[in-house]
């Protein structure tokens, strides 16, 4: 059978290579009716193996962190990310840790990005629950409890005393939102590359253990619904796509059913959104270039400095959507302004980070 080609006897502390991160060999001996669309190893997924933390191995050491994070941000709001310098990596590759706001987003991202080619190298993406805190583990288990109670229309009879007590900080995170809901929800275009470019300014240290190079907190306000369109579809399908599942995991008819129902508004919104964001991003980058040139030529920020391109005002056909869009725009502007201001004050600071990165190039 596809036994684990286990490496190291390393323990499970963060930073150590974990056995469950070693890629299992593909199972070659499956009966026809159990064969999936993609070759997979034999593995059982439980809530213990899943996590909002994803470990990304096989990232070429080309200083492409920004591109990597942008790719992953397509699947949901990212709470933090950084390189794991001490993590054992293949030659010329790096290992990154990305923490999503929601488990469902991490799930989709893993599914989509695992074994994807990225700058000429195959990514290996896996859950990294060993980076969770006790509280995060607790919340994960509680979320699963809530989801099952909801899905099976039961109220859980065992009420935890402490689980509710020390929860002060988890707030709405575990409540509404995408993790388990299957509704398509409204498209949330408030996060994404365009925001990413400005997020350097708001960098915010959350004190991650193990002193890795810590990057900015990549998270967007008012995005309570991070996963947007994809969750609608995958929410229904996740458990059916676990590693051992052959494509036939769902019998043909239900599969068709699931496909047709949630996808209609999902896909429709997906396409224009990405193109839209890319366009914005391109414009913003042009704008950034301008502001940089501007500051080096002349120290008066008023003239060229903060002149970022106007974000096209889009009418979203809905008052509340428009209100949130305006809020987001003003927030973006605020952030963008603070970026250009800091770059005026000390122009080196903004270029310091990329420089460090460049040294990593070989």
């Amino acid at each position: 059978m596809a036994a684990g080609s286990s490496s190291s006897s390393g323990s499970g502390g963060p930073g150590d290579a974990c056995r469950h991160h070693a890629q299992l060999g593909v199972c070659e001996s499956r009966a026809k009716y159990r064969e999936g669309r993609r070759p997979r190893a034999v593995k059982v997924y439980t809530i213990n193996l899943e996590s909002r933390y994803l470990l990304i191995q096989g990232v070429p050491a080309l200083g492409v962190m920004k591109e990597l994070v942008e790719q992953f941000a397509l699947y949901g709001a990212i709470e933090e990310y950084h390189a794991l310098d001490e993590y054992p990596a293949e030659q010329f590759t790096e290992v990154y840790l990305i923490k999503f706001q929601k488990l469902q987003c991490a799930r989709v991202a893993k599914k989509k990005m695992d074994e994807r080619s990225f700058f000429g190298s195959l990514l290996h993406v896996c859950y990294a629950p060993e980076f969770e805190t006790v509280q995060e583990t607790r919340e994960k288990l509680q979320d699963r409890r809530k989801y099952i109670a909801k899905a099976t229309n039961q109220r859980d009879c065992f009420v935890l005393k402490k689980a509710e007590g020390p929860k002060k900080t988890i707030s709405k995170n575990s409540e509404g939102g995408c993790p388990w809901s299957t509704s398509g929800s409204h498209a949330t275009s408030n996060w994404g590359p365009s925001c990413f470019t400005t997020s350097h300014g708001v960098s915010h240290n959350t004190g991650h253990p193990s002193g890795n190079r810590h990057q900015s907190l990549f998270t967007l306000p008012q995005d309570d619904n991070g996963c947007a369109e994809t969750s609608g579809y995958f929410g229904q399908n996740t458990s059916l796509t676990g590693s051992v599942h052959p494509g036939g995991c769902t019998p043909p008819t239900p599969l068709m059913q699931q496909r047709t129902v949630p996808i209609d508004n999902g896909v429709e919104r997906f396409m224009p959104r990405t193109t839209h964001l890319q366009e914005r991003k391109r414009k913003r980058e042009e704008g950034n270039k301008f502001s940089l040139i501007g500051t080096s030529a002349d120290n008066t920020e008023v003239i060229i400095g903060p002149q970022l391109p106007e974000i096209p005002k889009v009418d979203m056909d809905d008052d509340s959507l428009n209100t949130s869009a305006t809020l987001i725009r003003s927030k973006l502007k605020e952030v963008a302004d603070s970026v250009s201001r800091t770059s005026v004050e000390k122009p080196e600071s903004s270029s310091a980070k990329p420089l460090v990165k460049q040294r990593r190039r070989i």
Partner: protein
């Protein structure tokens, strides 16, 4: 339309029972355990008595079969009907035995399952003294996943008195359940 789902699961159960190949057995069991993650399948899995199948496999020789069966139980035990079924079938005992497995995944699934199976009625069983003692040791494990899980167990499912009692006990006895490898 949902008939297809039942038939498919039925085919898996049939293959599991009919095959002599241990490899096929493992694959099918893993399949079933993964299906047990989705509440949509619970009705069918009960109908096909897959819960019994999982419980039976807990006492198998093969560590892999035990791991997959334990994972399956962990996946479906939150559902009220499934929970009641497992409790009535005296499932807690073999699950507690899984705490001494040398396979970390098996242990993790067993800990989570015990948490999820805890009800006012069952808590005497699920948080029996040896279990609490075991969790105390797990909470010191080098594996962060395991220690996190055991900590949640101790903090949320046990009373401080239970923990204290277990702590005192473990001071006096040197023997204990060994930690899983890796």
């Amino acid at each position: 339309m949902e008939l297809g789902r039942l038939e498919y699961l039925q085919a898996l159960v049939t293959e599991f029972q009919a095959t002599d190949s241990s490899e096929a057995k493992e694959q099918v069991l893993a399949n079933l355990a993964n299906f047990a993650y989705d509440p949509k399948n619970y009705e069918y899995l009960r109908q096909l008595q897959v819960l019994d199948l999982f419980l039976d496999m807990l006492t198998e020789e093969s560590e892999t079969l035990v791991e997959f069966a334990m994972g399956g139980l962990c996946n479906l035990c939150l559902d009220r009907a499934n929970k009641d079924y497992i409790l009535e079938a005296n499932g807690v005992e073999p699950i507690i035995n899984c705490l001494s497995s040398s396979n970390e995944e098996t242990v993790m699934s067993a800990v989570t399952t015990l948490m999820y199976l805890t009800t006012p009625q069952s808590r005497q069983q699920t948080t029996a003294l040896p279990v609490v003692e075991c969790m105390l040791r797990f909470s010191l494990s080098a594996s962060r996943r395991l220690s996190n899980l055991a900590t949640v167990f101790l903090e949320d499912y046990c009373t401080p008195r239970q923990v204290e009692e277990a702590r005192n006990l473990s001071k006096h006895t040197a023997v204990g359940i060994p930690l899983p490898k890796d």
